[in-house]
Symmetry: D2
Subunit: 370 residues, 4 copies
């Protein structure tokens, strides 16, 4: 039974030639790289990093002047490219975050793709995203889902630009080699109704009799800021803790809003530093309002409205607000949970702070008054 | 509500300077790379590739002479490094396959790690792998699990070397930045019993009353070849098809044996070419016995016992045996299923064959009779 | 193999003596009763029936004068006893419904039991039910859960009596021989907080990060009428249908609020008769507001506020409001779903009405002005 | 808000007249019956009982002479009627057990019904049950499923009678008012294959790739005695315990073979009395081989091959074999688990034995040598 190797030959070569023979045959010897492949704890390539709103916003506006939204590009998006990822336009190894800028009276054309996407609105008004015919209004603080293979286009009817934070699973789906993309036959979808997805979900724990869920994502496509804020406030009043955290979930199943990452909101109250926590998987935060600082692996990151930062897997992280602050975040925890890989631990003591993050690597560019 | 941008500035720079300003701030413009990031269908970096047993075996034997098994390296493993992955020692973007060589009277020391691993035995006898104290015998055609965070060591009591095929989720866990590793305090574990995991599973559909499953993997750690072969034969007699395919599953749940990839066995009967199929996710095959050829994206790969090959995501694949052949395979389908990303389609016609794969890129090395 | 019956004897008796011999040995011959045991479609013993509020309320008030709430009885409850169930105090074969009357400044002592119970408030104010230390306020239209093995007591701080509708799975648990009951060591529980269960659920699709669900029931114990009504209204505006139906669910899982029956709210708009539907399993309705009529198996049941009625399994049922009406209902559908026994069909045409239900079987009792 | 009761009247009647008024209106006062409805622990109506093979077999044979198998009766079945259930032909409140006798060259016609049924063969050979076209051979010790709404007929090609033990959920489905029944258009189904359901399940933990499960029951319809016995033996060798217990499960999900009750096999080794256990839900046992005794709530039940007995919910139960014994059992545990009602406890000491069960209530009937 099994392959007969009784007549197998060896090759009488020295170690160097042997290594060369391996390389020539697309073989790699594990024993040379075992510790890099299998470190004792995760050694992320994702770097802790922060992008300043004061850097992003002028460039986003300039992009609004320089770039049009046409088939091919489709979107005016500035991606947060993690310097640890060797030039890839990804924010962590699994998550992709970006700022998207939609000028007054602009529309971004309709398409669909297998990557799940969410939009968290930072500024602007009078915009709606049409998802499979349902025009979902977008106001600051709202979370809008454009899940896997759902048609979507964005439309700004107002006189002001809108900027939102984009969260996608693009790096993970690149690794999974599972990206499909399709343009809609029309430039924009026919609108069949407004905020329809909310109609079945007017009350907590109340479900239309007979309602069922699409297998892969929440049927609720818009989570309004007013609901989010009220929930944060109630959680705070109930616990008295300096940190209230909630997850946006599928109301029909309690599972994550999209299958590949979690959407979270964290409200920090000033005066207390949260415990240092480390967990597997990365998170990308964007500050909706307020200011403060986070310590990631001993480095202090100061942040204010519109700033965005990323914490890699197994990094020590704590936060402290200097004024009450609301941070939206995406995290790949659902993937780790599904694969039984999630670990989390709270450190007994706060980590020491050994430095402060200074993002800008190059020269300053001058910004004229517009 | 929202961030006030009424006083926001733009930057009066031309397009080139604008692009430079983005790069200096770790921002990347999506519109330049949209089609690469979001192709219409998956464009894998994983290349279809094949590793010849006749290349691997002499080098594995030579490694047996040159390399000892000690703490640090721990294993004598030749990894199948896909040329598409720019030097990474991975077989696809999610899967890692390797040949492991354990010489007579050798032991590979005890450790554990979060990557799930499986071993499919190609040749040899008299070996056991101890998994959390349970000594699992290894014979040709057997599948042995050493799942996430289970202690394991390998022991060859016999006079012949053993070679097995290793399958791990190492690339995926590298992307998920979730690898933990620990050496066992002893060189080898204490053996508490032999083939104990099989004791609860002596009959199909029969479960010890009150038995429960570890959350992340099958409690059955050894799948014997005799059972596998009998099942393949029964499936063939029932269907009459030229291809019988089975999956190794957790007998307590029906789910995959480990959470991050599927273990499969395919028996091909000569005389018929299977339909061309493409599906999301990659698969790595190793030939246990028999010979034939597979066509992957129009290129013909000829294979015989011990040869291993990889099919990337969304590649067209069909097989044809020249004599009855058994192919063991691993596939990342469970991950795609869990995230609602699995797609599969069967092509109406066979793909055309435009070339034949020739693996060896460099010079021949001479092998002396040992 | 098997039991040896080669030497078995027969008994030389005639048919009558044979039947007697069976009876004497606690055996019953199936062939005589096959059609009763296995009818072509369900032949419920549960009868369609209706209880008039005008009958119930005076008796409930009188019970308030005659009966005190003490250990032993514990509750002042008038159970809806279905005449088809041969004297059993059950409303259907699986469901128990009752009216509970709690006088001003009264308390019903603390206990717990395995039957799940829900309370739907019909009239009164200033009452709370303490569930495991959480004082849940009760106002008209509110639904309060006192699930399996949760301590609960009821307290009326006001000057008015409260009457609510009780729904329990008592008949099913009697059949399952699974009823446990325990008195609390104190007459009333210590109140540890007010409406605490609502704190985690202030917004739809928003979950406290890390929240988990008790396995058997919703963590939300109070569903306020204002939320229920708003949801009914939104559903109606969305669909335009004369019937809006919702289910009260566990917000963490989307499953039923308690494991053994569903809690539903139906809003009927006047002017349209709903289609005739039949489904497996029974439902008990109580009218919260409005009036109308339901046709059950051809018999018309007229109803107004406070009336309660039961529809048996596989009965044809349709409804028509004469003024906008809200009906609360409990149904054993979750049990049938869990056991893969649920069937439902909508009839192509309305059923004919062959009669009108007249509940009162006996003499009228006179009611003085109180 | 709520029903206005400000003008509600009371009824000035004494307690007796009040009770009469309730009864006249189909209302029952809980306070009079609270302890019966809600006992501290289950008070089963199911009685512990035993049916002797020596009583059953001669009557079954006589039934074979007196009763033919025709449309209407369809089956020659002697049901085990529990004396506690007031004449109902049920063995417990949820389970129905019976002995079915199929004479040489007889067939029982094809029908289907929503009650799940299983057949455990006690004696005979050369019989098959056709389930949806699949002819499943029946040999002693085999378990055959004829699940919810699957067509089935029984056929004896041999010269000997077959007797099997029938297990059904008939009492539970009667309570759930969910029984449907249909005769097949033909007297017997067309046989499309033999033991086909076994073809996909030739090895433990091996599943045909792409196989899926019917939602409500196991796709494997025959569990052969040889597999069952081998598994019992392996479990015993592994544990050394005097009791080995297994459950027959759906190999694709690990769940119960049918949704409404568990099928179990218990092997007892002589010389040791098992611990006393009590659990919610009832079990019906039939002795396949061997002899011994069980103590149920202090009463000793002696049993040998072919005897059958029932243990009610929450009864104390222990067993002791006088020679190695195999007991097949059905239990409603899956229902209790699904509804979160299962409880089980092992008593620290053996129960005292206060009496011995003597089943026969009436006169002896004489059995002639056949």
């Amino acid at each position: 039974m099994g392959i007969d190797i009784s007549h197998a030959q060896t090759v009488e070569v020295g170690y160097d030639e042997f290594c060369g023979a391996l390389a020539a045959r697309d073989l790699q010897p594990l024993w040379k790289i075992a510790k890099q492949l299998m470190p004792d704890v995760p050694i992320p390539t994702t770097q802790p990093w922060l992008w300043k709103w004061d850097d992003v916003l002028p460039l986003a506006k300039r992009a609004g002047e320089l770039i049009t939204l046409e088939r091919g590009g489709d979107r005016r998006v500035l991606a947060l490219a993690n310097p640890g990822l060797r030039g890839l336009p990804f924010t962590s190894t699994t998550l992709w975050a970006a700022f998207q800028y939609l000028g007054p009276h602009e529309s971004a054309p309709a398409h669909r793709h297998t990557p799940n996407a969410i939009r968290f609105v930072l500024t602007g008004s009078g915009v709606y995203t049409t998802v499979n015919g349902d025009a979902c209004d977008m106001e600051p603080g709202d979370l809008i889902l454009t899940p896997n293979w759902n048609w979507h286009d964005h439309n700004n009817l107002g006189d002001q630009p809108m900027v939102w934070f984009d969260g996608l699973d693009l790096p993970l789906l690149t690794t999974l080699e599972s990206i499909f993309f399709e343009n809609h036959p029309q430039q924009l979808q026919q609108v069949e109704g407004h905020n329809r997805s909310e109609q079945g979900f007017a009350g907590v724990g109340l479900r239309e009799l007979g309602a069922s869920s699409p297998p892969a994502h929440s049927p609720l496509l818009r989570y309004r800021w007013a609901e989010t804020e009220r929930t944060l406030e109630v959680l705070h009043q109930a616990s008295g803790n300096p940190l209230s955290s909630l997850e946006f979930v599928n109301p029909l199943t309690g599972g994550p809003a999209v299958s590949t990452f979690a959407c979270e909101m964290h409200r920090l109250y000033p005066g207390t530093r949260t415990p240092s926590v480390r967990k597997t998987g990365s998170s990308v935060y964007v500050v909706f309002q307020g200011s403060g600082r986070s310590v990631i692996n001993g480095v202090r990151f100061d942040w204010g409205p519109g700033d965005s930062f990323v914490a890699p897997s197994w990094a020590r992280v704590d936060h402290e607000a200097s004024e009450r602050a609301d941070l939206f975040a995406i995290s790949d925890r659902p993937v780790l949970n599904a694969l039984h890989l999630f670990r989390e631990e709270t450190l007994a003591e706060h980590q020491e702070v050994s430095g402060t993050f200074v993002p800008l690597k190059g020269v300053e560019i001058s910004a004229d008054q517009s």
